[in-house]
Amino acid sequence: MPASLALRLCCQLAVPQTRAEAAAELARELGAEHCLVFILDEEVEAFVPAPGFPQTLPGGPAWSCLLERCRASGAHVGDVAYPTPDRLTRAHAWSLPEGLLFMLLGGEPRPLEPDALALPLLATALRAESANALTQRQLTAEREVARHATALASALDKARWELEAVLSESDRLNRELAAAAKERAALLASEQSASRAKDEFLAMLGHELRNPLAPIVTALQLLKLRGGPTLPRELSVIERQVAHLGQLVDDLLDVSRITRGVVVLKRARVELSVVAHKAVEMAGPLLEQHHHRLTLEVPERGLLLDADERRMAQVISNLLTNAARYTPPGGEVSLTAAREGARIVVRVRDNGMGIEPSMLRRIFDLFVQGERSKDRGGLGLGLCIVSNLVTLHGGFVEARSAGLGMGSEFVVDLPAAQLHVVEEPAQASPGWGRPPLRAKGTRVLVVDDNEDAAELLTEALRLHGYEVACCNDGPGALEAVGRFAPDVAILDIGLPVMDGVELARRLRGREDLPRLRLIAATGYGQEADRALTRDAGFEHHLVKPIRVASLVELIEGAPEAA
């Protein structure tokens, strides 16, 4: 074949439009029936039909073998099915290192010189075209992907706008919530402030009620001293009601201290039976007054508590008082106690008017009274005090009742004392630490700015045989001691001009009064108040209203704890 013809046909093979015709002419010129061209697909590492040639061969295993053999460069011969599956045709193939496989099928092909046909050049052209076709397909796919990406980006924009709207709304709601929270905090602070003011008012009210009570109590005692063993009925009524009023004031002050968190327990190892007996003694008059039958089932020993004896007795006494008050006359009240594991459980039961189910959870709240209390009076303080004191002792209290008319049960659950704790020796009652005084010849100075209180106490002490002087302020007292030389001075703390603490310090500073004994008489009874008077040099701290008998016992050396 002339070189010019070979070159022309090769060039035409490189052009898609003339490829089929050129392949047929080339086959004829080279003595074959068909001409096929394959290119090496490097990604799948196999010869695949070049673009423009049939993309699907007729098939048969011989094709696979031949194409596989042709991976090696050089001339190859094999019989394959072509152009139809049922026609076997001899194939002469030339595999070029440039990744092109030139194949003549059928006929008697003449020997071939690849370079003369410019097949390396054709390889470059066809592989470029194949690569281009792949790139075009990829480009089409990429365009489709890009179209999807654009559409998705638009959709995401929309989603973002929706999200922004949601976030804006959320932000607005957050700001509203923050404002509401601030408002709530302000309200809470205001409520707390009001609550503090209420607590302080209650404390003040308690003290202010105590001050007039003190002279009333003293006056009563004076009347009793003067009147002998028989008292008019009216006086008994006054005495009972004053005692009741005093109890109410005490409760009010207790609640005030508890809500302000200023109650300090004086814990010591104590048998519950001791506490229980004390409580029964406290509540006894009311139980008797209502003709209730009290059943007591408290073991004498074995129920040890680490508790403030006085406060715990107050707890049980309050519950007994409660039972007495809300049980019709002649009722049954029981006080039982038992150990349950590491706990000591105290139960106060009655067969009285019971508690509505809706009240059971609220009954320990401050000032809360159920319907049953309407005609029973009281301030609704007792159970609140019980609950708070029990909580301070690490326990809890619970009210149970099957309903109105079904009786009540109050269960106090307290931690039993740890057995390994060494029992502290009981503290000795406070005393003078000096020989006792006797009334005759003993000089007592009473200092109180409440003239009624001062005069009544003065008179009461004189009736007991003491020599008593009275004055109403600190400067007057300092002057009086010089001429009166008292053995005992009973000082009110809330004095005008110079308070009782300052007066005591000054009296203690005087060298001419080494034997003077000081008793504080005040409405303030907290530990901090007692520490203050102790530091100022007082030997005793009595909380108003003062029982004259107690004061006399104290002066004469059998002091009663304040």
């Binding site: 990604e43 799948v44 695949v48």
Partner: protein, 389 residues
């Protein structure tokens, strides 16, 4: 709180099957109409009769479903049956949607379907999921899922399957209320406060050299590396010691799928369905010219492991919420290939779910577009969706 009931019927008659389903649902989920009812029914039933009876007796607020190619539920698996899932919830909201004219206009069908969804407007629900069924013969389900993703601004996760007809590929239907439709897509929108978990897995691995698709037309693969597709499969059977019967290659096809290489390194599985006299092979889904493919293989153990993995994914996606009930879809080819061993896949599903029940069917393709799953349509893939309690 979400309540659910899973029931099935083996009754041959459509009316009798519907009656049995209703009785069992009323027992299992008493207290009135369910919020949603999902039905999978073999093509052997008269679907209009079945659906009308269910609709009349139960009055569900939403009813969707599809013809199936094998049905299963907790404690039951088989073919030629019907099963159903009823849902009632105070924590989730369900709405049914329909898109028609799928083959001609997938974007339009997607928009029509989504127009029934309520979660696109500002609502109280944080999580949006949709269960989809398409007519398998409408084709291009990948594109449909893309269109749905666009129409919902990527705000939903999708799962479901292409309706089946026991692998006959003659007529597949979707259900919407008492309507039986072809060339359509139906969806059940699920809006929830707690996440809905979706997991996907297949146990297929590469079994041949990489090949180029040199000729294909739609779902018909003509040649690979220039050689007739059927010849390539036959040669692969020889090389791997498998039996290949030219007149009935179905069994070989079930065990040898085509895996299309993707840019992410994952393979899109394509199931060969039938050998053509010209040496080409008909597939369940499109095989593009120029794509690079492998022949893929699997084992029972790998398939079971894949289902376990998919279920775990779905449960983890609940982020600590308890599983209430699961929907499970797998290819009809998986059931036919594994035979009795398909029960092991369901056993793996049940073992992972614990006390939660499951229901599902064999489909002619599986849909999943969930976090980490960007290809919308699969074959021979296990798809698990777990609803929170």
């Amino acid at each position: 709180m979400t309540e659910s009931a899973v029931v099935h019927s083996n009754a041959l008659g459509s009316a009798e099957a519907a009656r049995e389903l209703c009785e069992r649902l009323e027992d299992a989920l008493p207290g009135g109409a369910p919020d949603a009812l999902v039905v999978f029914a073999s093509p052997s039933y008269e679907h209009p009769v079945l659906l009308r009876a269910l609709q009349d007796a139960l009055s569900p607020r939403a009813l969707i479903g599809a013809s199936s190619a094998g049905e299963f539920a907790s404690g039951m698996r088989g073919s030629g049956r019907v099963c159903a899932l009823a849902l009632r919830s105070s924590a989730m909201a369900f709405h049914a949607g329909l898109g028609r004219g799928l083959a001609a206009n997938r974007a339009g069908a997607a928009r029509e379907l989504v127009s029934s969804f309520r979660g696109l407007s500002q609502g109280p629900y944080a999580h949006r999921t949709a269960l989809l069924f398409t007519d398998a013969l409408s084709g291009e389900t990948d594109d449909l899922v893309s269109q749905l993703t666009l129409a919902t601004s990527g705000g939903y996760q999708f799962f479901g399957g292409a309706a089946g007809d026991d692998a006959r590929f003659q007529k597949t239907s979707v259900f919407f209320g008492s309507e039986v439709l072809t060339d359509a897509v139906v969806g059940l929108e699920m809006l929830s406060h707690a996440p809905v978990g979706v997991g996907v897995g297949h146990g297929w691995g590469v079994a041949s050299r990489l090949m180029r698709v040199t000729a294909a037309e739609g779902r018909r693969l003509i040649s690979l590396n220039g050689l007739p597709a059927l010849q390539v499969f036959e040669q692969h059977a020889d090389e791997t010691g498998q039996r290949f019967v030219l007149t009935g290659p179905d069994r070989f096809f079930l065990h040898n799928l085509l895996g299309i290489e993707t840019a992410t390194g994952h393979y899109l599985l394509r199931v060969p369905l039938a050998a053509k006299p010209d040496g080409s092979i008909l597939f369940a889904s499109e095989v593009p010219v120029g794509s690079k493919v492998h022949l893929m293989r699997t084992t029972v153990d790998a398939a079971v492991e894949a289902t376990t993995w998919a279920t775990r994914q779905a449960l983890e996606a609940l982020r600590g919420h308890p599983a209430q009930v699961a929907l499970f879809f797998d290819c009809v080819a998986s059931r036919l290939r594994m035979g009795e061993a398909f029960g092991q896949e369901l056993g793996a599903l049940a073992a992972q779910l614990g006390t939660a029940e499951y229901v599902g069917c064999n489909t002619h393709g599986q849909i999943v577009r969930a976090p980490g799953q960007f290809n919308g349509f699969h074959n021979c893939t296990a798809v698990v969706c777990v609803l929170p309690g």
